[in-house]
Symmetry: D2
Subunit: 361 residues, 4 copies
């Protein structure tokens, strides 16, 4: 069981390796009659696309997404038909020669070792299937999911911690994210962060980061009470992104230090009878089901494994080696992870919407 | 889609409410010919059982698990037959009168609100389906999963942070966990923690905590590379436990502050050719697949929502109320969460074992 | 993967062996707020129950179904809560001594051989998991499914062929089915069929049969176009019933002899604009999706494998044997298959309803 | 839930419309290290390809399958890597103008009506997603499945009934199938069948047929005992093929006329201890699990719905119409169904192999 599909009713199947001819995905279960064209996908892909600044890999990919099925124009403009939507993205700048040595030696911190151990073979070119390139398919699927959710649901993410540098919770401003090359959730930190990340980059090093997520407009009632709690589905979706090693919902690890009195999100009634919460430690989810408050989560990314400093490793032939990874890499893989976090949230929520509708009507 | 089943090949379906006649689970997909009796389940259930100390709810449940199917003795002792194993646990101490008020008012921080909103009805008695009582079924299933994994895999968890009090990573000692009523992963902290938690308990308050998990003996190669990464499956399993709001694998959120050089778990070869790692920031998982190192994770629990201090809330009739929750509760729900964390890890790993065997042979 | 769960959103998990303490099922995904009590289940179970006439096994089971979870009375009568519904049926008349020899020798035509070969062990008592007793769980689940479907959908089945004796299509009368001990879909054939089946029974023999199914009230649009065509789901559900070896939808195998002109179910418009079909060769399903016409299917049952005439077989110890099966058996297992066919159709359709609602709204 | 994926561990997701730019599939869960190239797929696609004789549609498609991922040559030739295998087939001869009228009027017996009713829109060009063109993806996936099964398993199918003309069971010769343009399982019937089908074709009519399937080399023990019986999975797979309306396993509907004595496949031991069966009424499956005998099934196809004779129908605008379908069609869609039946059997069995290995080891 290889699990290249995710989602229950809104289902995404992806395929493709970093240096193969193309990558892509099939989105199945999308409701019909939703207006959708390639122009709806491209802006999201452009946000994630490599080569956009000195802070991301210099690989030059156009990331042009073509829709090969599932959309039809019967006179009133292209709409989804309820059949699977195949999305195809050509790989145009795959320089496999850069990766000669990693065919043999395992990058510490990378999936080279485990793919080879599990499968006995791996497409080592550019990381093959484990490359961040795969996330383009997620972003394309996420763009479809956003159309399913409609304009009422707003999904935003941004970098709130870059290595040791943090944005205070009260200073987080998601509107700044796509206006700076660091995807930082605050315009103010950008100059200092740029200087910091330039240092990391020039040293051939890399650094971890934390991405915050906020989703507004999710009505109360989505999600499932136990083994597919909305927290659990979000956590799994985020943890499935390459380099992610931690996820917290609402107060998250901070809740471990709270008393019951502090943690309780007290409720009062608004003028029109809606529930007003005094706080949102729950991150918008209680018992696995949305409360109507904003969904909030934080996602920890480890640093890129490909660095210039030699690291001790072993080879698949059973010898020791010291490996430095040349080639084109992101000094902080979390940056381009921001649109991916958003896309995965969109897919989880589109799926939750459909499942809610199924059981509750 | 209600998702009361988890797992792909080793599948667990649970049922039952806190104050109904019984709870239970059906374990499907278990390999045949594994020796199994009720005596294999009971010790694990006894660890989680309420009423064991002043630090857990005073509800008195025997938590006797009966196996109703899937095991047969054909002369050589009872073994699994490959058919579904139904496990049945009677509820014997359900005092529904304690819960009169919460039929009407929603406990802040609890699932009362969201169940009622989603379903339009809920079994409010003792929290119904959202009660921690449900975790007994998980523990029973986990006991079966341990038999599938065999003695080579050792799963251990323990409380490493109780509110503001932490056990230093180097002081964590899982062997102490079941010898103290706090499930603390260190004997040394117990006196101080007991005093602290007594204060919380007597104040009718509650507190959050962090549970650490360590699994040794998992061979390299288990797990799936993308949407069901072993990290993602563990995260989802842990997040599905009531009150959990954060999960991290290996260095977790700490990895956000590491450089690529620091994060890389360097490798050397041992005398017999096996890989020796210099560190384990990956928590035993790279690219979603086990490395052969110990799996390590940390799980954040929020404080119990049921507290004596009145909290502002609303009722399902649309009025405001101040609610204090009487009845029997755990001052720190994470304590009895320790065997549940272990059980969920066991189920995830038994499932990973079967899936690995399917694809790789 | 052991597959003791069926359905996608309306999901049924069953457990239990013929001579174990009990059997049962867990119905998950049921919408909330549907009135449901044990009295809604029992009439359907009583139809299937053994011991009712000389034409079915003389095992005396009360088949009393208890609901252990998922239903709650909040003042307006018991309703489903959206949580899993556990149904429990005790086995009260299990005489395992009757089955001594089949622990050793495989009944030809029975699952004894294949269970033992696959699993290396089997609960041979009364056929264990492969016993027709398991179908009681299906019938209980089907009763829940009928409540989900509501009164607009009518599901009826009946025996239309008993060995060589057939009821002409135009003579089929489903209203007769539960008024005769043969579950025959025609009152007229009953005397002759009783005489025939008495002969089979007294000879210790058995005979196959065909059960017809008709479902009215399914609106146009349910089902999925390709790999879960409504035809395919019905076929799988029927084929999953013990002893079934053939399924056809609408004209079925007869369609192989039709020309395109004959097969086309021509359409005209009724007075209020609804579509009127001139025929129903499609059995109410085109492209896997319901047309609004009645769903029609036919299901072939093989004869009961347990017969008194000695048959050549082998034993699990690797010797040859001549086996005659004593004990209590149905001379025609298809008879009690009638409520099971109905129940499986109900489950498939409740599942189709939920999935339709999910994607289409 | 749209169900464009089938299989549990060997999973196939397909996409594409008849007159879109391309069709294709993603095969997930394939074990690694299996030699695989496009040359392994093409011969099977060529068998199904249109335009090959006057008895199939005159649409000219090259059906060239390209593998875009999941296969890697690390020096010893291309092998599967355990990652998803994306297969892409361009549509080169899509003449949408032929289909103008069916955008408006529903072909009786075709999925036009139900797609439009369910989704409110459909890609009507060439039948869109419901076109037999989709089966090319199945055949490509089936070619991969055959590699998973290996040479020990032989899957063969052929037409055994063409309208009223039947091949006697004892005359069935699968080796003749791909040597005649009718895919007939007997060389002798070909001249008479050609003359018959020429008549049908020239009349602009169509006819139904029955395809028989035989699989040898499946070891005893594959399959699951209840809801995913091997019979049920084969039945669902076959019923999911466009135009199929009936499936029977082994004696099938004939078993309804057998006595228990006749139906029992008696067993004796061979010289080396293997089980020898005296007959195969079970079609190689007992209790849902393979016996080691050949798997045998029969599949009924209805006639092609697109015919020249005008049929009464209605339009999506709510008017009545008389429709004759011009364009290019198969006079007997079952013919090209033969490689599809084989492919679906291959996929079901590859999936059964992996699942068996998972649970049993």
């Amino acid at each position: 069981m290889s699990h290249n599909t995710f989602g229950h009713l809104f289902r995404v199947t992806t395929w493709g390796e970093s240096h193969g001819p193309a990558i892509g995905c099939v989105v199945d279960g999308c409701p019909p009659l939703i207006p959708l064209t390639e122009a709806d996908l491209q802006p999201w892909l452009d946000l994630r696309k490599p080569g956009g600044s000195r802070f991301v890999t210099q690989r030059q990919e156009t990331d042009v997404a073509r829709i090969l099925s599932g959309v039809f124009d019967d006179g009133a403009g292209p709409v989804t038909t309820g059949t699977p939507i195949a999305i195809h993205i050509d790989n145009v700048d795959a320089r496999s020669k850069d990766y000669g040595e990693i065919a043999r030696a395992y990058r510490p911190g990378h999936a080279d070792l485990t793919y080879q151990t599990k499968y006995g073979v791996r497409d080592h070119r550019g990381g093959g299937r484990s490359s961040a390139r795969e996330t383009a398919s997620r972003v394309a699927a996420g763009a479809v999911a956003r159309r399913v959710l409609g304009d009422g649901v707003t999904i935003r993410a941004g970098v709130v911690q870059l290595g040791p540098h943090r944005i205070a919770p009260e200073a987080v401003d998601f509107s700044a994210v796509y206006d700076n090359p660091l995807f930082a959730a605050s315009a103010e930190v950008v100059p200092a962060w740029e200087e910091y990340l330039d240092g990391v980059r020039k040293a051939g090093s890399s650094i971890g980061a934390v991405v915050a997520l906020e989703v507004t407009g999710v009505p109360a009632g989505w999600g499932s009470p136990l083994y597919a709690k909305l927290d659990a589905e979000l956590a799994a979706a985020m943890m499935s992104i390459n380099a992610v090693k931690g996820v917290e919902i609402g107060a998250g690890f901070g809740a471990a230090e709270l008393s019951g009195e502090e943690n309780a999100d007290e409720m009062r009634l608004g003028e029109d009878g809606q529930i007003l919460f005094g706080s949102n430690n729950a991150g918008g989810i209680l018992g696995g089901i949305s409360t109507g408050q904003p969904l909030t989560a934080r996602v920890a990314f480890k640093p890129t494994s490909s660095i210039l400093t030699p690291r001790q490793t072993v080879t698949r032939d059973g010898t020791e080696a010291d490996l430095r990874t040349k080639g084109r890499h992101d000094p902080c893989v979390a940056l381009r992870g921001v649109p991916v976090v958003e896309a995965m949230a969109a897919c989880v929520l589109a799926d939750a919407l459909l499942r809610h509708r199924a059981q509750i009507g």
